[in-house]
């Protein structure tokens, strides 16, 4: 099946991850039905992206999610380095 529709996800990077990829924000056009893991694969193809860990902590629309969570058009996906608050 061929589709021209795509799912645009607003990806945010923080702290050490933002430094490694040299960016804090990027919009990714993913296939419909894409998951968090697909967005991470997109990031890994970028310069510096190979330095991301296998399963980084992620948040979708301000809430923690697992890598198999689906993404919808307009979602905000944050990729979070190990937390160090407290």
């Amino acid at each position: 099946m061929v589709t021209t529709a795509s799912t645009t996800v607003h990806i945010l990077l923080f702290a050490s991850y933002a430094e490694r990829l040299g960016l804090e924000r990027i919009d990714a056009a993913l296939r419909p039905g894409a998951t968090v893991a697909d967005a991470l694969a997109y990031l890994r193809a970028l310069p510096g992206g190979s330095e991301l860990p296998a399963r980084p902590l992620c948040a979708r629309n301000l809430a923690h999610v697992r890598a198999d969570a689906p993404l919808a058009d307009g979602d905000e996906l944050a990729v979070l380095p190990p937390l160090a608050g407290g």
């Binding site: 050490s16 902590l57 979708r60 809430a63 923690h64 999610v65 890598a67 937390l83 608050g85 407290g86």
Partner: protein, 147 residues
Amino acid sequence: MAFLTDTPLDLAELIAEVAAPDRGGIAAFVGTVRDHHQGRTVLELEYSAYAAMAETECERIVEETERQWPVRVALRHRIGMLAIGDAAVAIAVAGAHRDEAFAACRHVIEEVKRRVPIWKRERYADGAVEWVGAGAAADLTTPGQRP
């Protein structure tokens, strides 16, 4: 409610927020900046946050805690440059009994460390500057959210 602040934390202010004539037990926790990390001398450090989510996650933690125990919770985390000994996080929990105040206070600091998107970069005496990862699990999910 602003849980993040770039000004010094004042535990007395948090205690005043939760104290009440029918709450006789107040448990509190303050986390301060240590001068050493894994054997290296720390000079200062900077806390940064994914602010929108950190505020939301702190609010969820307070709500969940006040639902789980009959207590009132005040929570604040400092962001920006901190010196050794500065308070990074402050929590005050008031309840009618100390059992619940202690349990709830402990729960709040554990959840803050586990869930709130805050990072710290330390500057060491040897000149190095490094991100410090306390190492949260990768499979964290926020309760009550869609999978």
